[in-house]
């Protein structure tokens, strides 16, 4: 039972990695990161069910708080970059290239 949940979590995490490395749309990359956070949450809850302790639930709540913070900040950055460049391509956002 727990193995099935872990395998699902692994599959979702790898789909998130696939979205990050193959897409160039900044929204899709951001949502793939959210997908990876969700997969980590699922693994936490599954292990918490396995050991019948609450620590995994607390960690999942912390991940949700961090994801909410990340969403607010990342979307502010996206709005700012869209205002500057007018594009949504991650290749355009290479401001730190030397």
């Amino acid at each position: 039972m727990i193995q099935d949940y872990l395998i699902l979590s692994i599959i979702l995490f790898c789909l998130g990695i696939l979205g990050v490395i193959t897409r160039r749309n900044v929204f899709t990359v951001f949502m793939s990161i959210e997908l990876m956070l969700n997969a980590a949450n699922l693994a936490f809850i599954a292990f918490s069910r396995l050991h019948e302790s609450m620590d995994g639930h607390v960690l999942a709540m912390m991940i949700m708080a961090v994801a909410a913070a990340e969403a607010a900040l990342a979307l502010a950055v996206v709005i700012l970059l869209h205002k500057h460049k007018g594009k949504l391509d991650t290749n355009v956002f290479s401001l730190l290239r030397g």
Partner: protein
């Protein structure tokens, strides 16, 4: 038996939503399929008897975060010709799948060695608000405070970034 059927239904929905996120070209469709993934993950949490996380997943993730993302996508009014050209997308996807298959195989091998438990209902208080709160405010008090500080910093940062008034223009 019934819970197994529910598990397979929810996991198929979750994987389909994630595939839609990776494959759809427009971010609005991707966001909608990510909502499907979030809601089916909430169903999986309820199968794991995590009642509080089930509710939080629906309210915070599928409700708040996804509606924030969809709001920003609609706010920027993205048309089809605003999207970046991704002419080599399917080649990149195939390459990524080739790279990721050994990783997935290895991780599934590891997951197979973990002892499983039966799909039964655990004790009546498992995953409720009171039990999670007791653990949260006793053993995890310092991380909880640090997370609250992180939220404050993010709030200030988002206001500073998005609400900047450029003078001289």
């Amino acid at each position: 038996m019934f819970s197994e059927g529910l598990f397979y239904a929810f996991s198929v929905l979750a994987v389909l939503g994630a595939l839609g996120l990776v494959l759809f070209r427009h971010p609005m469709r991707g966001a909608m399929s990510l909502v499907v993934t979030m809601i089916s993950l909430a169903g999986l949490y309820s199968l794991l008897s995590a009642k509080l996380i089930f509710v939080l997943q629906l309210i915070v993730y599928a409700g708040a975060i996804m509606s924030l993302i969809i709001f920003i996508i609609m706010f920027l009014n993205i048309q089809d010709n605003d999207l970046p050209v991704e002419e080599k997308r399917f080649a990149y996807t195939a390459g990524g799948i080739v790279v990721l298959i050994p990783v997935v195989y290895f991780l599934i091998k590891i997951a197979g060695t973990i002892p499983g438990v039966e799909a039964t209902i655990v004790g009546s208080g498992f995953g409720g608000i009171k039990e999670v709160g007791l653990v949260l405010f006793q053993d995890w008090l310092l991380p909880f405070e640090i997370v609250s500080l992180l939220l404050l910093v993010t709030l200030v940062g988002a206001v500073v970034l998005a609400g900047k008034r450029r003078v001289g223009k």
